[in-house]
Assembly symmetry: C2
Homo-oligomer: 153 residues x 2
């Protein structure tokens, strides 16, 4: 289907003709309260632009992959783990997730965290951490505390 020329925002972070999808299939990977909307997925563009929204207290999957993410925070606030560092993120901050780098986004307890995410249209599937990967990540106490917050399903 051709991408429509104009799609108005119909409610905050909702758009005409853009389906609000589940982040992932249930039980495919651990996450909590995340929606996914594909804003641009056009055969003439070599990237896609998606909007993800994590509800208060929710989190994306802790994962890594070869493809990189270019993220613009678009709503609310929260934190993210990128590699071995935790960052506080808020409106319009820019986050770049390098290749094969463990990452997770967590919303604040009281407000959602929404972000635009640009990725290559052709990309590899995410990898989940093994028990050994988790042990290595938890060696850093700040990362261990972050992962503990983001491991509820």
């Amino acid at each position: 289907m051709d991408t429509p020329v104009f799609r108005a925002q119909s409610a905050p972070m909702r758009w005409q003709g853009v389906a609000v999808a589940e982040y992932k299939r249930e039980h495919e990977a651990p996450f909590r309260d995340v929606t996914r909307q594909v804003l641009f997925d056009d055969p003439q563009l070599s990237c896609q632009l998606r909007y993800f929204e994590v509800a208060p207290g929710g989190h994306t999957t802790l994962e890594r992959h070869e493809h990189v993410h270019a993220v613009v925070i678009a709503r609310g606030r929260g934190r993210c783990l990128i590699g071995d560092r935790v960052y506080d993120v808020a409106l319009h901050d820019l986050v770049h997730v390098p290749a094969l780098t463990w990452h997770q986004f967590q919303a604040d307890k009281k407000v959602p965290l929404g972000f635009l995410c640009m990725v290559n249209a052709v990309r590899d599937r995410p990898q989940l951490p093994s028990t050994e990967d988790l042990a290595r990540l938890r060696a850093n106490p700040l990362v261990a505390a972050f992962i503990a917050e983001g491991s509820t399903v």
Copy 2:
């Protein structure tokens, strides 16, 4: 240079380490009061994400090209011409500029118009309208009025 993992918004629509550039070289093409910031331009991403801001009363160049644009309005409001239609645009509206389609963005007279724009990293150069192209565009009175607003330099 590697893309930094985290860049905070340092002022409204300004970021640590992101240069505020001229939209185009002066006299290269007609435009008025537009800045360009490249947010993501990474060798591992096949698209770039840029932020353009048109000051109140300003406008981008009226142009077309083979490559398409995926636009998310990020600040303020204004209007855009896409092909033979003029659209009012405001926060978070989505605009897709198809291939070889004349387009221009104009800010409101009183507020700026800022937008994120995703494009393929490898792309053709813009074309400017010939006298004949302009005559064809002006055959539609709404388009003629829009172009008249957006032809000040």
